[in-house]
Symmetry: C2
Amino acid sequence: MEKQHNLSKNQKIIFDLIDKSPEPLKAYSILFNVQKKGINAPLQVYRALDKLVEIGKIHKIESRNAFIACQNSSCQISKATAFSICESCEKVSEISNTKLSKYLSNFADESGMKYSKYNLEFFGLCKKCKSK
Amino acid sequence: MEKQHNLSKNQKIIFDLIDKSPEPLKAYSILFNVQKKGINAPLQVYRALDKLVEIGKIHKIESRNAFIACQNSSCQISKATAFSICESCEKVSEISNTKLSKYLSNFADESGMKYSKYNLEFFGLCKKCKSK
DNA sequence: TAACACTATGTAATAATATAACATTTACAA
DNA sequence: TTGTAAATGTTATATTATTACATAGTGTTA
């Protein structure tokens, strides 16, 4: 059984917004969207985002500085993430492919480093954009 | 034979700085370092960085907003990059592992997307930091 | 329940990262 | 030599993220 994280008020407001969004959201776009709910300052947003990332409810798309809800119930708490990103329409999806995650989680090279975490971003054209 | 890219003056100044650095450099730290050479504005730095990334002479470490010189002569012009990052000392190395790059370059999932590019960042503790 | 530690919140200011808009110059191929 | 693409220079501004400080809520345990 996974640890239950009871989200606080701000965390819940921000998670719900991200979770409903069909696309990754940026911090300041989140801020504008939640100002009517009493969240007024960037720091309030960033603090909630940090926490949500930490507990694995959302992920940061590093190449886009944007956040999406975790789509992967078996996600190892943000320790192993992979995304596909369409460079034309900017659609982002989380990839959950057991082979891929096994391969990467077990990856080791000659450096002697033991990797505890990874983030992978694939880029290309999605089906729709390819056929245009 | 690979295409020869003759770097312009600013590109060369900035590439040389990054290439000599043992660690990834951030754009504004680059700016401060090259001001004595007549590069005065952020945009001049970002333009050179963009070009250098485009032609594969440097890579951006997305999770750190920093840039390192390409260590991998066989690197497919920035289309396929992998890095190891120590979360303690922040040492970053480019991983050049044929198996890994083949595996990822050929990766395909059910989405129907054909990936033309990827970026992978591994995190952990390097040998030194592990033994502390 | 009082004391404590921990997490979360609120607010203002500012730091760090990146781009827009516009004018000019250089490199080089047709 | 003229046309075009690439590069440069400069100012201003947009976007992303953190520091510093004060306060309030939550849950544990003595």
